[in-house]
């Protein structure tokens, strides 16, 4: 039983770390802040959840509680961070215009209402 548990948690830990690595590759290679958020919000969230689950299997059951709470808070806070960073990125013209093929938000926030990019 312990062997099965070890194998499952080893797969989860390594798989989770791999997703974290791929998320970092995304953070490094994607063209703008919002595309990088995609990598953080998905690949890395899954990676962290897998590592948390793998760690929970290796510890006494009572330590599963803080791990589950971390997972819950992570799931709840990622959309908030994403929305606030995304919104700020759009309004401060930090999105890479070249990679946008369609922009429905332009009707609501016309370019003249946006602020100059913070990097200029």
């Amino acid at each position: 039983m312990s062997v099965v548990l070890d194998v499952v948690s080893a797969v989860l830990l390594i798989g989770g770390a791999l997703f974290c690595l791929l998320a970092s590759v995304g953070v490094l290679r994607f063209p703008d802040a919002v595309c990088r958020l995609h990598a953080a919000a998905k690949a890395q969230t899954l990676g962290l959840l897998m590592i948390l689950l793998g760690a929970a299997l290796q510890n006494a059951p009572r330590y599963a509680v803080p791990l589950a709470l971390v997972a819950l808070f992570q799931l709840l806070t990622i959309p908030v961070t994403g929305q606030i960073v995304g919104r700020t990125a759009y309004r401060t013209s930090s999105l890479s215009e070249a990679s946008l093929t369609e922009d429905a938000l332009a009707r609501r926030v016309p370019p003249e209402e946006r602020l100059p990019s913070p990097d200029d």
Binding site: C20, V27, R36, Q58, A60, V85, T88
Partner: protein
């Protein structure tokens, strides 16, 4: 199991390295906010893996504080960017 943890820590370390490259390159404040958030989450993953390696979860409640602080920090910083740009 020991080999597994070496692989996990190597992967997480490599991820942190890639993330730090992006942190240094930026180019914008928002990129760095996103990147720092990713970095803190990597640390959280590392703490969890270390707890599993030692089969001792005493440090796990710290994780909660770390992840929540990262969240509050990112949101505050993003708000500040918008405020600062608005005053320029």
């Amino acid at each position: 199991m020991t080999a597994v943890y070496y692989v996990v820590f190597a992967l997480l370390g490599l991820s942190s390295l890639l993330t730090v490259v992006r942190l240094v390159r930026g180019p914008g404040v928002l990129d760095r906010i996103v990147t720092l958030d990713v970095l803190v989450t990597l640390f959280a993953a590392g703490i969890a893996a270390e707890a599993a390696r030692r089969e001792d979860g005493t440090g796990l409640p710290v994780l909660l504080a770390v992840t929540l602080l990262a969240f509050v920090g990112s949101v505050t910083a993003a708000h500040l960017v918008e405020k600062r740009e608005g005053m320029r």
